[in-house]
């Protein structure tokens, strides 16, 4: 079995790839070399992951390890292999995209610096997924967190990038602190740092689960732990945003899946907690997305929604495991995992799309765009595909994943389940609501960016589709969305293998094909595409439709319509925002219009993040005021500070003393 060696080699090559961009090669040569090596390394790693799927036993290895604690033990079970797929696919496509998006010609030395941290980010995520030792896991986790920080804050000459970078750094370390506590508890309970299944955790199981949920929840971006996510995603270069949203958030999901897989006894409350957290993140995340004006912030909030959907699936899987219902487990975990893949595909596609738009127009403000569809037909078509997929609509991959979740939630209705379990079925109604808001959110984005007349003609006039390096990754992601949408059964063996790996050894997992006739979804999707093609052909053959004259949009006979009369994205979002104003707390500044000749006035509406802008910022501001009282002790003399330390040490010594002779 070479698969684990292949994957390890892939990780090393990917980690090293970025340093090649620093070589003094003229022009873009260094960056191209780095991208080629990263793609090659990812190919190696992916080959190893696919090999591990087929392996009868999970391949494992132990390397020499310098640190006094833990060990360098790695292994690829099907669950790891499942998460390795996006880890190796998305960064590889992103590095190709970066050749057109973040070039040395335009960005100067930043391009080389970014390549280094980009490679490290991709490699560390691979290591996170295969680590089987808590210390190794934490080392890889921290490298990932820091590499992502350096990569996301690459434009550190802009103040808002530095600000969002700091918020990310604080949030990720609060999460890591929880993980430290969790692994310390793990060590205390099991007696070792090895991540192997636990026979019985006793009372520690509750604490382990809660710490994992919070610690990994920070990384995954569950509400209300999402505070770092919108800013960091919006301000990172687009291919880094794609890797962060498409893959790095999933490391949080991986952590929760892995830790719950290791715990012996799963209790129903764990499942229902995750289900509720997921539902709240889903509805609130997409409702926030609908209120944003920054293109990439919309996508970032929509990531929170998708993480919420995944969380709902995990919750159902945990419920199934706690109550001995393998059907819920396989549909819940299967749907969640398929959504992990799907989200990494369509969200990366949309972030690449957003990058092309920014590259062409120089802005992320959707209120300044509009009418791009004619200038950038490829980008527009890719966006439509991504938007249909992310809204979970047939016939694309988003539907295939959510459909499994729906079937799982409906299955909790089967009589004979534990008392009160039917409440879980109500989550299907919540999922339907998430889907409907997602349609509103992405139609709004599509309309504001690509349709209508340009609101800022100067920006849009020069816009054009990106070059081949940026198009190619988008084509590949779009193709992947289509393939999973039309042939959802292809993913079933991987989902079943990963579910088996998650369950205790010896558990039977029902076949997805028996629970969910996925072939029908594929066939009907193809039939739908065929009918649309036929109708389009009919229009083409229509004798008079083809010669349709082009006139202005009908406007009640008004003679000089301007783009300022268009319905703006803010207006479109208002009706949804108003429905959810009880969670969104939108802020509006509305002038009072009085008298027959009212003076000129302004209207503005925005949706700030309640957790960050209304809770945390005021909290930190007031804590700064209180803690500034300590400043009286500040003298500016190092000796004095060391004296303070000495005094405190003596006080502690006294406080720790018991008076009992040694």
């Amino acid at each position: 079995m070479l698969s684990i060696e292949l994957t390890m080699a892939g990780i090393v090559v990917v980690a090293a790839s970025g340093f090649l961009a620093l070589l003094p090669i003229r022009g873009e040569g260094g960056q191209r070399l780095a991208a080629a090596v990263l793609v090659a390394g990812s190919g190696l790693g992916l080959a190893g992951a696919i090999g591990a799927f087929a392996a009868p036993m999970p391949p494992a290895l132990d390397y020499y390890w310098l640190l006094p604690w833990g060990s360098f033990s790695v292994s690829i079970d099907p669950l790891s292999a499942f998460f390795l797929c996006p880890v190796f696919v998305v960064p590889a496509l992103g590095s190709i995209y970066g050749l057109g998006y973040f070039t040395r010609k335009e960005e100067g030395r930043k391009a080389g610096k970014l390549a280094v941290f980009y490679g490290l980010l991709a490699a560390s995520m691979g290591l996170v997924v295969i680590a089987r030792d808590a210390v190794l896991f934490l080392v890889a986790w921290e490298v990932m967190a820091l590499a992502a920080w350096f990569a996301a804050a690459i434009d550190d000459d802009r103040p808002e990038v530095r600000k969002s970078g700091w918020i990310y750094l604080i949030a990720t370390h609060v999460g890591t602190l929880c993980l430290f506590a969790m692994f310390a508890l793990w060590r205390a309970t099991t007696g070792s740092f090895a991540l192997s299944p636990l026979a019985s955790a006793g009372g520690a199981a509750t604490a382990l689960f809660v710490l994992a949920l919070v610690g990994f929840g920070f990384k995954a971006g569950f509400m209300p732990l999402h505070v770092w996510l919108p800013g960091a995603h919006a301000n990172a270069p687009s291919h880094v945003s794609a890797v962060m949203s498409g893959v790095m958030l999933k490391m949080g999901i991986y952590g929760i899946v892995r830790m719950t897989g290791l715990l012996a006894a799963i209790e129903p409350w764990m499942g229902s907690t995750l289900l509720v957290v997921g539902l709240v993140s889903g509805i609130a995340g997409i409702a926030f997305a609908t209120g944003q004006k920054d293109l990439k912030r919309v996508l970032a909030y929509s990531s929170i929604e998708n993480i919420g959907i995944i969380g709902m699936g995990l919750g159902l899987a945990l419920l199934g495991r706690a109550t001995g219902r393998p059907v819920w487990t396989v549909l819940g975990l299967g749907g969640a995992l398929l959504h992990v893949w799907n989200h990494s595909l369509f969200k990366s596609l949309l972030f690449f799309d957003a990058g092309s738009i920014m590259h062409a127009t120089g802005t992320r403000d959707i209120e300044a765009l509009g009418g791009l569809g004619k200038k950038m037909p490829f980008t527009a078509a890719a966006f439509v595909l991504g938007a249909v997929a992310i809204s979970g609509l047939p016939p694309l991959n988003g539907f295939a994943g959510e459909w499994l979740l729906y079937l799982g939630f409906f299955d909790t209705l089967v009589p004979g389940g534990p008392r009160g379990i039917e409440a879980a079925a109500a989550a299907a109604g919540g999922l339907a609501m998430i889907g409907a808001i997602a349609v509103a959110c992405f139609v709004r984005l599509l309309g504001a960016v690509f349709q209508g007349e340009p609101r800022d003609p100067g920006r849009v006039a020069k816009a054009h589709d990106p070059g081949l390096a940026m198009k190619l990754p988008m084509v590949m992601l779009a193709a992947a969305c289509l393939v999973i949408g039309f042939f959802p059964g292809l993913a079933a063996p991987a989902l079943e293998a990963a579910t088996t790996a998650w369950l205790p050894v010896g558990s039977m997992v029902p076949h997805i094909a028996e629970l969910a006739p996925q072939a029908w979804i594929g066939w009907l999707g193809l039939a739908l595409a065929a009918v649309v093609a036929l109708l389009a052909l009919g229009m083409r053959l229509h004798p008079r439709a083809e010669k349709a004259p082009r006139r202005g949009t009908w406007d009640c006979g008004y003679a000089a319509p301007t783009s300022r009369m268009e319905y703006t994205a803010t207006s479109f979002g208002q009706s949804v925002v108003r429905l959810f104003s009880f969670v969104l707390w939108p802020s509006r500044r509305e002038p009072r219009i009085e008298g027959p000749f009212p003076p000129e006035s302004r209207f503005s509406a925005r949706v700030p993040d309640p957790v960050l802008d209304r809770a945390l910022r005021p909290l930190f501001k007031s804590s700064r005021r209180w803690s500034s009282m300590v400043r009286v002790m500040q003298q500016g003399q190092t000796q004095l500070y060391i004296l303070y330390i000495l005094i405190i040490a003596i006080v502690l010594l006294a406080a720790g003393g018991t008076g009992v002779p040694r």
Partner: protein, 302 residues
């Protein structure tokens, strides 16, 4: 085999007739003679022959919108049982596809509207998208209740429950679902009190405002899709309210068609005796649909 053929034929031919019935009923209440029952067929035939005027602002999405909508709605019609025919296609979980096909239709209708850059159409599509946020969960709660009663996740079996007679535990939920579905039907097909299909221009319109710029064959496709949608959701409602079957196809098809005509007449009466709600009141109506269907669900699982 004959059932499938009749199913397709009914699905293709009958829907525009329902619009005729609604208009005739409304004309009767208004003391007018009204357009002939078959007027919608003539309108569609005329539109299909005509040329089009297309706004220069639009892209391919504007032209794709009505076609994708038509295809998606028609496909949803294959999943519902009509008269003597069980659905043409039935599988475990087809109800989710049924609901999401309407979602796909909505995505393309609303984005085709935004493609024109007109404020009217923007407003219409924002409202359409927003109201769906409330109708979708209501529809799924109705499905949850039906799934609980039937123990099946296929529309065919779920809609067979009412025909099995009213048991003590299922009567109340079925009544609640029927009322909830009727509200969903009115909202989804853009009827009074949610929307007024007769006015295009008031700032209060939804569906008619979205299609202002479509003309010729595309407008024909839109009119036809609208009638198809009414027909399909209506037949789900009819299966719940009046599941009368004799077992003889020669009787069942006419009964089914008659029931739908009655439903159309009822919609016509509602449109005649009610005023359209103020736009900011519509969400309350839709939330009450969620409450009705959700209560049915709770009654069943308590």
């Amino acid at each position: 085999m004959t059932d499938i053929a009749v199913h397709l034929l009914v699905l293709i031919l009958l829907p525009p007739f329902l619009l005729g019935v609604i208009n005739k009923t409304k004309a009767f209440f208004a003391g007018r003679k009204g357009p002939p029952l078959l007027q919608t067929y003539r309108d569609i035939a005329k539109l299909l022959r005509k040329g089009m005027v297309i706004s220069g602002t639009t892209t391919w999405i504007f032209r794709a919108g009505p076609l994708v909508t038509l295809a998606a709605v028609a496909m949803a019609g294959l999943l519902v049982p009509f008269g003597a025919s069980p659905a043409i296609i039935a599988f475990q979980g087809d109800l989710v596809l049924f609901a999401y096909l309407f979602g796909l239709a909505r995505f393309f209708t609303t984005s085709a509207a935004l493609d024109t850059g007109s404020s009217f159409e923007g407003m219409g599509s924002a409202r359409e998208a927003t109201f769906a946020v409330l109708t979708e969960p209501a529809l799924f709660f109705a499905f949850l209740a039906l799934a609980r009663m039937s123990g099946s996740l296929s529309l065919v079996n779920m809609l067979r429950v009412p025909a099995m007679g009213l048991a003590a535990g299922t009567t109340a939920p079925l009544v609640l679902i029927a009322i909830g579905l009727f509200i969903i039907l009115l909202a989804e097909t853009c009827r009074i009190p949610v929307d007024d299909p007769n006015t295009h221009l008031e700032l209060t319109m939804i569906h008619e405002a979205m299609v202002l710029d479509h003309s010729g064959p595309l407008l024909g496709a839109i009119t036809y899709s609208a009638s198809l949608k009414l027909f399909i959701i209506g037949s789900v409602l009819v299966d719940i309210v009046a599941p009368w079957k004799t077992g003889n196809p020669l009787m069942d098809w006419p009964i089914f068609a008659g029931e739908l005509v009655v439903l159309a007449a009822v919609i016509g009466v509602v449109e005649s005796v009610m005023a359209r709600l103020r736009m900011n009141r519509v969400p309350y109506l839709l939330v009450s649909a969620i409450l009705l269907c959700g209560s049915a669900f709770i009654l069943l699982v308590r």
